[in-house]
Amino acid sequence: MVQTHRCEDHETVGENKEKRPKFFINDHVDILIEILKRLDGRSLCVAASVCRLWCTIARNDSLWENLCFRHVSPPPSSVRSVVLALGGYKRLYTGCVRPVRSRLGRMRKASWARDEVQLSLSLFCVDYYERLGGSNSNGR
């Protein structure tokens, strides 16, 4: 399991330092990213409150991209530019994918996974459009 961020106690233990180097996850950001990639949405948000490094990593949109397409075959590359233009993967996940998945959860069939993502994308786009309207014209 991942070691939580403990203070520099380990470095003061001088005797075994040369023989057995301690593993400190924050020194291995690539491994940390691999681990965080596999978390669910809620855990990822919790992870963002651990420390500044984790916060920066958890905010990285590619982790949320992974979350959106987790159970679906990887989408074509054009999807990314569209999603980023409409507000990013974190917003897509929290605003559309998660509600779609949780509400469809009861009735889910395996073949729906890809369609859920497509539906989420459409809803995300409508949501972006409605936000455009809110800022451009008052009270519409």
Partner: protein, 538 residues
């Protein structure tokens, strides 16, 4: 709990008792309920009610004592899972005897009894039937009795109200206005005894208003239909948010248009009623992501002219253009301002012969119908110029109702049924002010159907069967909407709405309804190519 896999049962259950029963003379198979048998459970039809009650008691018991339940999950050995009645009973005996008759007999009528029921439930948190345990049996009985009295009274008033509405409509049709007027007074008195917050009382109120408007103000019905374009757009938007009918229409039409545009690089969509353009972001996004890249998309939006210098069509166009730019879709918008659809001429749309055209009509074609079937009625004119554009697809969404019959009483009856169903479905919406404004939107439709005549009556809904005949006769053939559209519609319903909505496919068209009453129908059409040859030769 027990995980029951229906496929294993049809293959021959592993439990020993099943094989023993098949070797003996067959038990009365005719008595086994067919639907449950299909799912793998054997329950006698005669026992269905008891089994249902026992299941309810089991559920209550499980809720009451979660500790026992978890032990049960690991310790229970159930021998014949298909015999539902037996294992429910055996599980029930594991639990302490639940309180007698409380929960399973506490049948609640959701329509009329909210005030009574709420007082019993507000104190309790969800999922804790302890409330029932605190009520003694006698108290429960008297509460039940009160409930039935209230129900009976309100149901009775509701039924009387409907009868009076029908009688009043009949009087209006036959011209007996004095009787109609006195009926209106009586009905308004009766309304005070009925819950007008929901159910039949609310719809009845709107119909009473519409009838009185028809009687007292004549049939211009100006104020009903005279809302400004801006108001109409707001109401429409809230109707969009409050219930799934418009979302269903948009998503289904978009799916059909997307499929029709496959392989074309220049595409042109003509929208007969742009409003806020809520339909188009999803199409733009789908085109942006289609394999092979997005085409050049032109959108021509038709809408009413806006007063005082505002150009609402252009504003929507700009918003859509910004969206299209964000997702890298080449986009061009044109607005056509027209107060009536029949005023639009095809040259205004500036269709390029090389582009693939889609015509999109969401609840607009019925406005072109008049009550007389003249030769060159507006509907024929418009349909013929649509054909002239040779569109790849024409998507038509219309209310599934027969509100264009010549007889007033028939129309009134149909409308009463249709809009009651629609208001029922709106009860599921919990968001305000969307719900209230959506109701006003529907109320305006009711007003137009009931209190207007002649050119003022624009809500001339016709059912899908009639549209099929009309469109086939005008040189169009139906395109099947396909399983993708159906799947998407199902997902959309599950996502947005309460239980009760249903989508059904009907000869390639999709219909969305509430509890098996279809309320809105979506279909797709294409111009028959050799039509002109056919016409000249016959």
């Amino acid at each position: 709990m027990l995980r029951y896999d229906s496929t294993s049962s049809s293959a021959g259950s592993s439990s020993g008792s099943l094989s023993s029963s098949s070797s003996s003379s067959k038990p009365p198979q005719q008595d086994i309920d067919g639907l449950l048998a299909g799912a793998g459970y054997k329950v006698r039809s005669s026992e269905l009610r008891q089994v249902a009650q026992r299941l309810e008691r089991l559920e209550t018991a499980m809720g009451n004592s979660p500790a026992d339940f978890s032990q049960l999950a690991s310790d229970a050995i159930l021998y014949n899972p298909s015999d539902l009645a037996c294992w429910v009973d055996s599980l029930l005996t594991e639990f302490a005897e639940p309180p007698p008759t409380c929960s399973s007999d506490f049948i609640v009528d959701p329509v009329n009894n909210q005030t009574v029921v709420n007082s019993a439930w507000t104190a309790a948190e969800p999922h804790t039937p302890q409330v029932h345990q605190n009520i003694t049996y006698d108290e429960q009985q008297s509460l039940d009795n009160q409930l039935t009295v209230v129900t009976a009274m309100e149901e009775d008033s509701g039924i009387r109200l409907v009868h009076m509405l029908m009688t009043c409509a009949e009087c209006v049709q036959s011209g007996d206005l004095s009787l109609a007027t006195s009926l209106i007074d009586d009905m308004q008195g009766l309304l005070t005894h009925v819950n007008t917050v929901c159910g039949i009382g609310k719809v009845a109120g709107h119909f009473i208003d519409a009838l009185s408007r028809r009687i007292f103000q004549g049939m211009g019905g100006g104020s009903v239909n005279g809302g400004s374009a801006f108001e109409n757009e707001i109401l429409y938007h809230h109707f969009y948010e409050a219930c799934p009918y418009l979302k269903f229409a948009h998503f289904t039409a978009n799916q059909a248009i997307l499929e029709a545009f496959d392989g074309h690089d220049c595409v042109h969509v003509v929208d007969f009623n742009l409003m806020h353009g809520l339909q188009w972001p999803a199409l733009i996004q789908a085109l942006a992501l289609r394999p092979g890249g997005p085409p050049l998309l032109r959108l021509t939006g038709i809408g009413p002219p806006s007063p005082d210098g505002r150009d609402s069509l252009r504003e929507i166009g700009l918003r859509l253009a910004e969206l299209a730019r964000s997702v890298n879709v080449r986009f061009a918008f044109r607005g056509v301002a027209a107060s009536r659809l029949e005023d639009v001429k095809p040259w205004m749309l500036q269709v390029n012969p090389k582009e693939a055209v889609a015509v999109n009509s969401i609840m607009q074609l019925h406005r072109l119908l008049g009550s007389e079937q003249t030769r060159n009625s507006p509907i024929d004119t418009v349909l013929s110029w649509i054909r002239g554009l040779n569109p790849k697809i024409m998507t038509v969404v219309e209310q599934e109702a027969n509100h264009n019959q010549p007889g007033f009483l028939d129309r009134f009856t149909e409308a009463l049924y249709y809009y009651s169903t629609m208001f029922d479905s709106l009860e599921a919406c919990r968001v305000q002010p969307e719900k209230a404004l959506a109701e006003i939107y529907i109320q305006r439709e009711i007003g137009n159907v009931v209190s207007c005549e002649g050119s003022a009556r624009v809500e001339r809904h016709e059912p899908l069967a009639k549209w099929r005949r009309r469109l086939s006769g005008a040189g169009f053939r139906a395109l099947h909407l396909g399983s993708n559209a159906f799947k998407q519609a199902s997902m959309l319903l599950t996502l947005f709405s309460a239980e009760g909505y249903s989508v059904e496919e009907n000869e390639g068209c999709l219909r969305l309804g509430w509890h098996s009453s279809p309320l809105i129908a979506a279909s797709a059409w294409q111009a028959v190519p050799a039509w002109d040859n056919h016409m000249s030769s016959s």
